[in-house]
Subunit: 429 residues, 2 copies
């Protein structure tokens, strides 16, 4: 695997040469899997013969979850019922599970709380951040390439606090931030291209201008080191159903830098964030610490499924995950260069390791049809409008054999579904 | 059982007379259970020999839930994975389950969407309501006896929209509403006293003044008819883990009156409420209809547990539930009058059926210790600061024998834990 494999090389239609190369690639993939120190982790998941490269959308099922949730339902809910709020630790689950996520994103205990959707946490983080910013601030910056919900919610937060929103490409934020900027909301990894944004550099530039840094970790947490504490990130949010394998729509999390926690004023001050939630006080007094990020009654079934899912990380170093992630995406890009018909796909994921997340996105005409063809042959990635094929590499359970197979099947589908000829020019020229 | 049983009668310490009366009450309870048309529904729940009167806090486990969730986890998530968003109907669950709750609260299909916590839905409803109100509005009214989270969230919503909050007792709202009132947020049943507020009358008075009516149904949905459409309620929210038995912290719901749906501007315009959620449009265009109440990715495990839990209502009329609820609370009050030491407890729940929800709240000194004693003897209610014992009656599974036993054990505990003597007057007199 190379640091910068370059543009995929043109591949001929299948020929004895390519078949020989394929045999070599399969053998190479097997050797890489044999040497992979994380290979055994795959057994912690329920997988079948599908090549599942959509863990960046919905992580696979960890084997520990079904048994744990059966017990939560039958015993904790069914037998103990209301007593489980204390006896089964339900009440403290949001912070306890936050502490379990914390090491994966470089946070000390007491800085992460789990609950609500990512969108709701973006609202808390952006409004909370605006309220901590200087009085003279008139705007927030929002990653111009963001997953849309962050932009929608940031606009709502800005509308409700009287600030303007300015969309800025992540690479331009350091130049565009001004003393009137309250904060910038940035995606750590671009959902569409898989590009990794410079969290340390952008955070530093924001701080130098007196602005706060709010990061969305949906596409990075569990795939690569984040280093929230080390880089002095102010606020962060993320989902748990991608690389953290928490299950469909599992609860999101909110990180608040320790020194800011007791200045955080939530726009959603639900009773769970009260200093004395069972005091039934008509006046709101926020709890100290990360509890302040809670809102309503925590969603226990989903939280405890997530908690069980996080057990797969117990003895795993996120640095090792990153090493394997880059090896997998390098190898996949090499295989695509070998198998794809010439000029048919173009990687929009950066080749530079410092700029790459844990997915490979290939621009390709007829991408929707191509992905349908892949799925029919047991290679599951996904498709994003208008023309991007996304392949997510989840180092805990994706093998090099998976990567090779996906690229080889992609080559077959592309040959069956050739590029559309350009439409003849119409009257408009 | 009487329409107005009056103040509980003084009961003597246990005597052969009381024991004979108790035997009569037990026999009476058995007859009432035999004649109860809903008695067989208890088999749809997992129950044991505990007398569980805390279904107004956490409903018991419906038998259908464990098997359904085992399948959701093992097959829908574990095998189909990402395909389940379409093939297993995950994507449309919030509206589909909303339609399942709708008949219980008197709503036509397409008016209820499930997701997020009650607190988050209160925020959506109050901000959304304020944005639909007349330009000259300067205040919102909030039920002065509300469960605290509604008040906290309403204050945040008002702060973020520049309005004032005025707490008003529900019975005073009709007099206090003015042409400057945008809306009133009112609890249908008081969480502490179990008093039922006059939803039709208050809603009508609000409308007459040009204000919107926003109801919190947490303590009424599933216990009594609500009639949202019939009474032209504008917005409503409720939880699903009490009388709807959805499980600990299961998702809440939002109701929006049909004619207001396309005027509803959510303060939480997440991607799930977009007209084309997969269009990845950086600009927000809200979906038509109740989908507009969605925010982020729906929490599937909890949603589908709730969906399975709602199956217990399939052939149940909410009017029959109401009839049994009143009979149960009447009978319990009669039994308390018989068994409790004289003057030791006082019902703060109204005796008037038109003003009673489905719980009985008894004021009592040393209430915390009394509830501990009850729980040790297998009668589970709960305790609310400073001095209220709450007993919830869930007509789908609470029997008259449960009610009699709870009152009898309460009498025993009260005799063991006599009222504290008043402190001797100190220097201050």
């Amino acid at each position: 695997m190379s640091e910068s494999p370059g543009t995929p090389e043109p591949a001929e239609a299948p020929s004895p040469d390519v078949e020989a190369q394929a045999a070599q690639q399969v053998a190479h993939a097997r050797r890489l899997d044999t040497d992979d120190p994380l290979a055994a982790l795959r057994d912690r998941f329920t997988l079948d013969d599908v090549t599942y490269l959509d863990g960046n959308s919905l992580g696979a099922l960890p084997r520990a979850v079904p048994g744990r949730i059966a017990d939560v339902i039958a015993r904790e809910w069914g037998e103990l019922r209301i007593r489980s709020w204390t006896e089964s630790g339900w009440w403290t689950a949001p912070e306890r599970i936050g502490d379990k996520i914390a090491p994966l994103i470089g946070a000390a205990p007491g800085r992460v709380v789990v609950g609500d959707s990512t969108s709701v946490n973006v609202f808390k983080a952006v409004v909370g951040g605006i309220r901590m910013a200087g009085k003279g601030c008139t705007e927030i910056l929002v990653d111009a390439t963001t997953f849309p919900t962050d932009g929608y919610i940031a606009r709502s937060a800005a509308r409700m606090t009287g600030l303007a929103v300015r969309p800025v490409e992540p690479a331009r934020i350091s130049d565009e931030v001004t003393e009137r900027t309250a904060l910038a909301l940035v995606n750590h990894v671009d959902y569409r291209t898989g590009a990794l944004n410079d969290l340390p550099g952008i955070t530093h530039a924001l701080h130098s201008a007196g602005a706060l840094a709010v990061w969305d970790l949906c596409h990075s947490a569990g795939a690569l080191p984040v280093g929230l504490d080390a880089h002095h990130v102010d606020l962060a949010v993320g989902c748990t159903y991608k690389y953290l394998n928490g299950g469909p729509g599992s609860p999101a999390y909110l990180y608040i830098r320790e020194s800011l926690q007791n200045r955080f004023e939530s726009p959603l001050p639900g009773w769970n964030s009260h200093a004395e939630p069972f005091g039934m006080d008509p006046n709101y007094t926020p709890a100290d610490g990360i509890v302040r990020g809670r809102v309503g009654t925590p969603d226990i079934l989903s939280l405890l499924a997530l908690e069980a899912a996080l057990d797969v990380w117990e003895d795993v170093s996120i640095e090792d995950v990153r090493t394997k992630s880059l090896a997998l995406t390098d190898f996949f890009l090499d295989c695509v260069a070998l198998y794809a018909p010439p000029g048919r796909v173009r990687s929009v994921t950066p080749y530079d390791h410092r700029r790459r997340g844990s997915q490979v996105s290939l621009e390709c005409s007829r991408a929707g049809g191509v992905m349908d063809g892949l799925i029919r042959r047991g290679v599951v990635g996904d498709f994003r409008e208008p023309d991007v094929l996304r392949f997510g590499f989840t180092p805990l359970y994706t093998s090099f054999v998976d990567a090779e197979r996906a690229a080889r099947v992609l080559g077959e589908v592309l040959r069956e579904l050739p590029e559309e000829q350009p439409e003849p020019a119409g009257d408009g020229g």
